[in-house]
């Protein structure tokens, strides 16, 4: 179990790094504060539902925002 956990944690770190590298900060910085904070939370933690709820957007609009920010990587 600990090997699987380690592998999953490593995977999450790698995906977060990809999101950080791909992120279009020019776009992200134009977003309203609440949505911007939610996108940053998604970049760092990949927690889709929590980030979406924080954004105040419905799921489809939030994912569209992630696409535009080039961080829709799961």
């Amino acid at each position: 179990m600990s090997d699987i956990l380690r592998e999953l944690e490593e995977r999450e770190k790698e995906v977060a790094e990809m999101r950080r590298q791909n992120a279009d900060w020019n776009y992200i910085n134009t977003l309203p504060p609440r949505v911007r904070a939610a996108v940053i939370l998604f970049i760092e933690k990949g927690d889709l539902r929590l980030s979406q709820k924080l954004s105040g957007l419905d799921l489809e609009d939030f994912i569209e925002t992630l696409r535009k920010a080039r961080v829709w990587i799961t």
Partner: protein, 166 residues
């Protein structure tokens, strides 16, 4: 392999943008949609595709049942014991149904994907696994993954692509 799947919103929103989206039904006879998923679909593109397939009988509504609701809550509690992303209710409900009925869960939610390796019996496929299955059946080439990424603006981790030989 089961010919039934249960899909969450994150999968449908993405998959509906793919030009070869109907290939999904070459793998699954029925894609079940929990009631809550329908309420989350907003864009014309996604709604049109879902309604079309509901009317053709390739998609079907899965009701909210007390038994699976309880199981979903149990899975959510279980997920909080692991130092990875926690399950939320919509994905937990899909996993609860799929574990019991032998369906495959379709989800782009990382917590659902992780659950299958730790505490959930159900298999969880992202679009990547669906595309891979289509490639195995010679319905597309593996390189179609790149087209999917382009059309949906959804990227997959490079290591996952390396693992399938891309």
């Amino acid at each position: 392999m089961s010919t039934n799947a249960i899909a969450d919103t994150s999968f449908l929103i993405d998959w509906a943008k793919y030009s070869k989206r109907d290939l999904l039904f070459k793998i699954f006879d029925t894609v079940w949609l929990p009631e809550a998923v329908l309420n989350e679909l907003k864009s014309e593109n996604t709604v049109t595709w879902v309604v079309e397939n509901l009317s053709r009988g390739r998609m079907a509504l899965f009701p909210e049942l007390t038994y699976y609701r309880e199981e979903a809550l149990r899975l959510m509690e279980l997920s909080s014991k692991y130092p990875v992303r926690r399950l939320d209710y919509p994905e937990a409900y899909c996993i609860a149904v799929a574990s019991d009925r032998g369906y495959i869960v379709l989800s782009e939610n990382g917590a659902a994907y992780t659950a299958q390796f730790l505490y959930a019996r159900a298999k969880v496929w992202r679009a990547l696994e669906v595309l891979l299955e289509l490639a195995i059946r010679n319905l597309i080439s593996k390189e179609e993954v790149y087209k999917y990424e382009e059309e949906t603006l959804h990227s997959f981790p490079r290591k996952d692509l390396e693992r399938i030989g891309l």
